[in-house]
Amino acid sequence: MRVAIVGGGPAGLYLALLLKKADRSREITVFERNPPDATYGWGVVFSDRTLAEFREADYRTYREITDRFVLWDAIDVWVHGERVRCGGHVFAGIARTALLGILQRRCADLGVRLVFRAEVTQPSDLPPHDVLVGADGVHSIVRSWYEDAFRPTIAYGRARYVWLGTRRTLGAFTFAFRPTEWGLFQAHAYPYDGRTSTFIVECAETTWRRAGLQEADEEQTLRRCEAIFGDVLRGEPLLSNNSRWIRFPTLRAHAWHFGNVVLLGDAAHTAHFSIGSGTKLAMEDAIVLANAFEAHRDVEAALRTYEGERRPIVEAFQRAAAQSQRAFETTDRTIRLDPMRFAFHLLTRSGRISYDDLRLRDPAFVDRVDGHLARERDRLRLPPPPAHLPFTVCGLRLDNRVVLRPAAACGATDGVPASSHRDALARLASRGAGLVLTEIVAVLPEGRITPEDAGLYRPEHAAGWAAIVGAVHAEGARVGAVLGHAGRRGATRPRRFGVDVPLRQPWTLLAPSPVPYLPESPVPKEMTEADMDAVRAAYVRAARMAREAGFDLLHLHFGCGYLLASFLSPLTNRRTDAYGGTLENRLRFPLEVFAAVRGEWSGPVGVALPASDRARRGIGEADALAIAQAFRDAGCDLVEVTAGQTVSDDDPTYGPGFLVPFADAVRNGVGVAVLVAGGLASIGDVNTLVASGRADLCVLEPWD
């Protein structure tokens, strides 16, 4: 077998030596643009798991690599003048040049042909071969020859970063955050040999421009970054290596192989530097591809096996990297957290590491976090884990951060809750949740979603709910009434039959505009001022009844495409009066309703708000933050984030914790207490979210 490998980086060299080692009769040639001792980049990092794979793949280079390694186990977060350290993570770093030297020597010993200063620009530049490997990086030439087959896409990150080095020796993975007059700068730094460290500086595009860095030459960039991170650098200068400010390119390719051509490492995929090194992925690719040639004589089958095995792993890595990248693109929000929480947020940014994982890695650190959250100076008392911290909202003390609520209830008659409602809520309360919420309770008969919905609009309703509140209080929990008006999603059959199935004889629906929810849904009536007055009054009456019934908290449901949500979204509100058009106008009626309720009810009031319509031209992040801000300013104590269902043809996402990014954005972007639901099933999830400052209260949905 004759193999031509374009690109003499770690991936190409490692593949070459593995293929040659397995079968000396193979003719392997590596073509590298640069001379053998050219240095690009500083250090690379591997985890303990990757090292185990190296050990198995080629013991000789593994030994050499580990001899040169620097090992460390801590992550330092420098923020607000403090340094927070978390230990127990195993990292190994090595200079990229040292790694390349080891691999080049091993290739030469095995008889791999290494051709340096090779300018390969077209397929005819290569000798005859049976397999062609593109290991030539993110701007791969090989990939460009077969663009139509590989179908690559590159997405550029929003932040600017520059890859520098320093002689300052670091003892840990170091993340440093420094607010400046131009905006926030952050550094990612790690040691890789006994003397030198990689030092990446990153900031938002706007910050970069404000600081005038788009005009800065290499020297000016170095001086500026040294000034910003002087304390971390302890006066050591920063070093440049042809370093430029760029935006991170995330490359994905529709296919990684085509005929007898295959892509390896950065040529096939990249993942943001904040989660690990591309070198690790590239060398793991090489191992799997080499093994695939052991399993299959047929080239096509080997390449197919390689891609089949690596793609899911790499894609999972890219998903986590994207989350990590987003976290670093929004640090201007999270920087408001205190140092301990900020560090915890950073450590759990990719969704791969939880509170429980950190407790395994560094129990003392997590104890400090617990103690910090509990603000417990008294060393004799053990602080509880975050989920069990009490939470006070507008004077109401909840025993813990867990909220439970029933699945859509049914069986009410004329809005009067059935005994099954009481049993369901009392059962939830008995499970130990600090707060129990009702299902959506209608403020008007025509505000019901289905004819079996419970309500708070007739005198006998208050008494019915009083019995339920009593049952929950008897279990030691607090209880909140969730008030709603279905709007254009009303008059549907009980949800046993699916959602939004219209009744045969629907009542008149109200909406800001006469747009039906589904083609077969009734067309709602466009609300007049009188209709609005009636709805506002109904909310106030419901709040009064809730007080009579003894509820501890009110929660107004202004999400999921129900009446008040449909005022907020431009997709459903097409009014041309003072209640439609600009966001300020669309907010007007929901805020009026809120203010009226706020005037009637002195206890805590929460609001469920849309964080995203999950639809084009609908509410997105900027609108969501403005909406949450408006309610916070109007005296809202707690925001629940919801997403989607504004329109029936939205584009949902349902992974575990699918609402968490919205909670994070609203809580830290607006500075308001946040309740989050959405596929959270364990107390571990609650610990992670509370400790990291992504949410204050979590709705658990245990399914057993």
């Binding site: 089949g308 009980p494 046993r496 699916g498 939004d500 949902p652 959405g678 596929g679």
Partner: protein
């Protein structure tokens, strides 16, 4: 273990004779199975799923009859409503309808149906089917009021949403137990998010071929049937349940992940596969 086990008909295995389908159904009826499943493919040597189930309905009395799954958007909704209701009547209300958009563009080409917009069409189809039965213009009515249970298949978030909004549960498309567990978590999250009461039914599936004589043939079939997935086909071949031990691990893994019913599909059409599977079950 509260998980129920279904067995597939070999209706998707090429060159299986009609009488084998009938005898398969008869023999499965005697076995420890809760249901009989069929897969759906247009541009392939496979039986029409509803016709195969209709034949099986005549040969059985007990087993539920399951489409695992039917590619809804390939079909005209009114005709599909009539076929489903007819089959539900003929089987005495034993039908369970799994629906999804399918993964193969060539099936859409063969049907002369646009591949784009298939998701939205499936949503509409799910809503429309029940409406048609209710209107009563297109008979017969299904055996059960409101029609048979619907399950929606697929791996996308849209599939989870569709299952939650319009169906009775979710039908997973195959994979190791942990993949099922992840999808089940998302399906449950979507169910709660849509405000549905109770829990979604969660169904799973996997391919089996038991006995040394069957494996090679089964692998050939998998490679052919799933050739369109490219490199992923190797994963599917790896997933093939070829020993009693793998069957036990698979079934227990699915039970652990909260699967209500697991349909095991044959990758070869030999009748002795039924008994081999029955013996292998935990």
């Amino acid at each position: 273990m509260s998980i129920r086990i279904g067995i597939g008909l070999p209706s998707g295995v090429p060159e299986v004779r009609g009488e084998v389908i009938m005898r398969w159904a008869l023999r499965a009826e005697q076995g420890p199975f809760a249901s009989l499943g069929v897969i759906d493919r247009l541009a392939y040597d496979s039986y029409d799923p509803l016709i195969a189930l209709a034949a099986a309905a005549g040969a059985t009395q007990r087993l539920k009859l399951v489409t695992a799954i039917l590619v809804g958007p390939l079909r005209n909704t009114a005709l599909l409503a009539k076929a489903i209701a007819s089959l539900d009547q003929l089987s005495g209300g034993r039908l369970v309808v799994g629906l999804a958009v399918g993964a193969r563009e060539e099936d859409y080409d063969a049907a002369g149906v646009d591949h784009r917009g298939r998701g939205a069409r499936l949503s509409e189809q799910l809503r429309r089917l029940r409406q048609i039965w209710e209107e009563g213009r297109i008979g017969p009515p299904p055996a059960r009021a409101g029609g048979p249970p619907f399950l929606v298949g697929g791996f996308s978030d849209e599939a989870f949403a569709r299952a939650a909004r319009y169906a009775d549960g979710y039908f997973h498309g195959g994979g190791p137990p942990r993949a099922f567990a992840r999808a089940a978590q998302a399906a449950r999250a979507a169910w709660v998010d849509a405000g549905r009461p109770g829990r979604p039914q969660l169904w799973g599936q996997g391919y089996f071929a038991l006995g040394d004589d069957a494996i090679e043939q089964a692998v050939r079939y998998m490679r052919d049937y799933y050739a369109f997935t490219g490199p992923f086909v190797e994963k599917i071949v790896e997933q093939l349940l070829t020993t009693p031990q793998r069957i036990v691990q698979f079934v227990e893994g699915y039970a652990e992940a909260g699967c209500d019913e697991l349909v095991l599909l044959p990758a070869v059409g030999d009748l002795d596969q039924i008994d081999r599977l029955a013996e292998a079950l935990p």
